[in-house]
């Protein structure tokens, strides 16, 4: 059963299930936004003091206003284990340290990566957007489909745990050092 020919259509169909009917247009952006919201399910953060069990999951976006809008739309009525999402547009890479996850593109990728290194922040970079520096998750397009590399070693530095189910989907996975 070959599906390669229908990839685009399928991807579109997949996204349409989650997308409100008002936005019929599917885009790479919306796929990525959906993926970002779904990564949260496969990552475990170290417990943060004073954080309530149902505190919102903070998703920060740096340098990608349309993506931020798309992400906001995707997670608007979503909950993960009862926690709502909180999408923030931030300018300062230093501010990313307070986020659970940060999607960063453009000029401030490296600064941001440096700023949150060793902190429990899921960094998401985008090769499809032309960036070379990679965060823990790095989007790429393979066979016209949105895929991702995973840097589990970097995740380990910040005390994050990546689910093996997610790891199994990575185009490539940089393993964390054996403890």
């Amino acid at each position: 059963m070959r599906l390669a020919s229908a990839i685009a259509m399928l991807v579109t169909a997949a996204l349409m299930g989650a997308a409100p009917p008002a936005r019929a247009q599917t885009s790479e952006e919306s796929v990525k936004a959906t993926f970002v919201s779904r990564f949260i399910s496969f990552v475990t953060w170290p417990p943060i003091e004073g954080d309530a069990a149902n505190a919102p999951v903070t998703l920060c976006v740096i340098g990608a206003e349309p993506f931020a809008n798309e992400l906001e739309r995707v997670v608007s009525d979503q909950r993960i284990n009862g926690r709502p999402f909180d999408v923030r547009r931030i300018a300062e890479p230093a501010s990313a340290a307070r986020c659970n996850a940060v999607y960063v593109v453009g000029a401030r990728v490296e600064d941001t990566l440096r700023a949150v290194r060793g902190r429990p922040v899921l960094t998401i970079t985008d090769g499809a957007a032309g960036d070379d520096a990679r965060g823990i998750i790095h989007f790429v397009i393979v066979d016209r489909r949105v895929r991702f590399h995973i840097d589990d070693a970097r995740a380990a530095e910040g005390g994050l745990f990546m689910s093996s189910r997610l790891l199994s989907l990575g185009v490539s996975v940089r393993r964390r050092p054996a403890s």
Partner: protein
């Protein structure tokens, strides 16, 4: 055979039991099968759950390759017929199906696991953290019927075996019952055999009785033969003596010959008595006698019966009271005891005959003791039995002690025996003391003197020879005789001549009246005329009591004594 219907019932019962077991087996199979189906469904659920979990990431990130890998992983299970992975919108992102399998459902809607045709199928949501991201479809082939049936082979076998066992048990029960019936039949046969055996035993008993009777006859035959032999010897002595008497004139010599002849006649008389006694036809004739006189008088007889190596010691006090008994039988008993003692002392010994006052009140005991072999204890209880003998055929009849016992009983006394093997035997005859005085003085040696006056005797005897002998005996005693050969003749002679002092009549006479009837007639017509009867037979039970009877053969002394008694009784009356 009241168990027969039950036997049927048992066999039916076994059959019904077998049916029940089969039905039970079927029910168990069905229940089990449905349990297995339920389990299969649960297994299907679990499989679907695993599938959903394994594809959750693939679905969430639209990774068709990974989803397909997961689906293929499930195809390893041969039961799996088709696998489908759907995204939230309903699009199939991965699938697997066996060759010729039915197409996957185009639009999945979650539904409970269920059987459909030869398959089990289920659709399950793909969820993560409470969010639904898609569906999985799983279809399993149902186990083929044969395989499913195969699973029940052991059960089926078990059930069949049980049913078979029941059937066999039923049949065995039947067989058992049949065997039981046969047994019962056998028992009945046995009973029949037993009763026929009983019949045979009865037959045998009567056969044995017949045998005893024939043995008795044989014994009597032997006895008769022995007596005939003895008689021949005696007759030879007598006839030889008579012939010699005609040839010898020497008085000394003639006396010897006559003495021998006299002895022979005596022995013949003894033998006859014995014979009659054995035949148990000798009536007891109780008399008051002196034991001492009687037994002392037997000495010469006894000594002649014994052997030279046996010493006879008779030692009886003269002053013992007289006893009431049959003197002839007493003599015979003593003779028998002495003969037994003699036979028990093959190497010689002593026979002691003694008497004493008995330990029982008013009895006199006569003891005959020997120093012989003695009697073993095991036969001691049997020796008084008639025909019991340890002696070889022809030598003993086993009637000797029987006579002793019977005689003692008839006299109102008893006989007992004491014996010690190797030392000897003592037989004790206990006889009652008589309440009367001695009736007659002991017979004295023959003074053939003519007592008081001469009498006229009417001798009634059919046999000429006997008649002449008897007449000459009376004449020897100094009496005068007239002979009549029958009762009628006697009566007419009496009518003609009233001078008879005594009628001497034989009892048995051919035709007409016998001696007893004659005596009764005379009692009527001439009550004062004394009658003395004589006979060679015993057993004339119809002789009137008190009437004297002189037993043949008798000697002149006996005749004189009897005559004396009869005439004296008349005189006293």
């Amino acid at each position: 055979m009241k168990w027969r219907p039950r036997f049927r019932f048992d066999r039916d019962f076994a059959f019904i039991g077998a049916l029940i077991v089969l039905a039970l087996g079927l029910v168990i199979g069905v229940i089990n099968e449905s349990a297995v189906s339920d389990r299969k469904l649960r297994e299907l659920d679990t499989e679907a759950k695993i599938l959903a979990q394994s594809v959750v990431a693939s679905v969430m990130f639209s990774d068709q390759v990974a989803a397909r890998e997961s689906a293929l992983a499930f195809s390893q299970n041969p039961e799996v017929d088709a696998v489908g992975v759907y995204e939230q919108g309903g699009a199939l992102i991965a699938s697997f199906s066996r060759e010729g399998a039915e197409a996957l459902p185009p639009r999945p809607t979650a539904r409970a696991s269920a059987y459909r045709g030869g398959f089990l199928e289920t659709i399950r949501t793909v969820e993560r953290d409470g969010q639904t991201y898609g569906h999985v479809y799983l279809r399993l082939r149902r186990e083929p019927l044969l395989a499913r049936l195969g699973r029940y082979t052991p059960l089926a076998l078990l059930v069949l075996m049980t049913a078979l066992v029941l059937a066999v048990a039923g049949a065995a029960q039947g067989a058992l019952k049949r065997a039981y019936a046969q047994l019962e039949q056998k028992a009945a046969d046995l009973e029949a055999a037993n009763s026929s055996l009983k019949g045979e035993i009865d037959q045998r008993k009567s056969a044995e009785e017949a045998l005893v009777q024939s043995r008795k006859m044989e014994a009597i035959g032997q006895l008769t033969g022995g007596v005939a032999h003895d008689f021949n010897n005696l007759l030879m002595v007598v006839s030889g003596g008579l012939r010699m008497l005609t040839r010898h004139d020497d008085p000394e010599r003639r006396r010897n010959i006559m003495e021998a002849m006299q002895q022979a006649v005596e022995r013949g008389a003894g033998l006859t008595r014995q014979l009659l006694s054995f035949a148990r036809r000798q009536p007891v004739e109780l008399q008051t006698i002196s034991v001492a006189a009687r037994i002392n008088g037997m000495r010469s007889l006894l000594e002649r019966s014994l052997r030279a190596d046996i010493l006879l010691d008779i030692n009886i006090p003269e002053d013992l009271p007289p006893v009431s008994t049959d003197p002839g039988q007493l003599e015979l008993a003593v003779l028998n005891l002495c003969v037994n003692a003699r036979d028990a002392m093959q190497k010689g010994g002593v026979i002691t005959i003694s008497a004493r006052l008995g330990s029982r009140l008013r009895t006199v005991e006569v003891l005959v003791r020997d120093t012989g072999a003695g009697i073993p204890p095991e036969i001691l209880s049997r020796i008084f039995e008639p025909y019991f003998t340890t002696k070889p055929l022809g030598q003993g009849t086993g009637l000797g002690l029987s006579q002793v016992y019977g005689f003692a009983q008839q006299s109102g006394g008893e006989a007992r025996i004491e014996s010690q093997v190797g030392f000897g035997t003592t037989v004790i005859l206990s006889l009652p003391i008589s309440s009367e005085q001695l009736s007659a003085p002991s017979p004295n040696p023959l003074p053939v003197a003519i007592e008081d006056r001469s009498r006229h005797v009417l001798v009634v005897e059919d046999d000429d020879q006997v008649a002449s002998t008897v007449c000459s005996m009376f004449e020897d005693l100094g009496h005068q005789t007239t002979r009549a050969s029958s009762a009628e003749e006697a009566l007419s002679a009496l009518q003609r001549n009233h001078a008879f002092d005594l009628v001497f009549s034989d009892i048995v006479m051919p035709g007409g009246q016998n001696g007893i009837e004659l005596a009764r007639e005379l009692e009527r017509i001439a009550p004062n005329l004394p009658v003395l009867l004589t006979t060679g037979y015993s057993g004339h039970e119809d002789v009137d009591p008190g009437r004297p009877v002189l037993r043949k053969p008798y000697e002149i002394g006996d005749l004189r004594e009897a005559l004396f008694k009869v005439l004296n009784r008349r005189a006293a009356a």
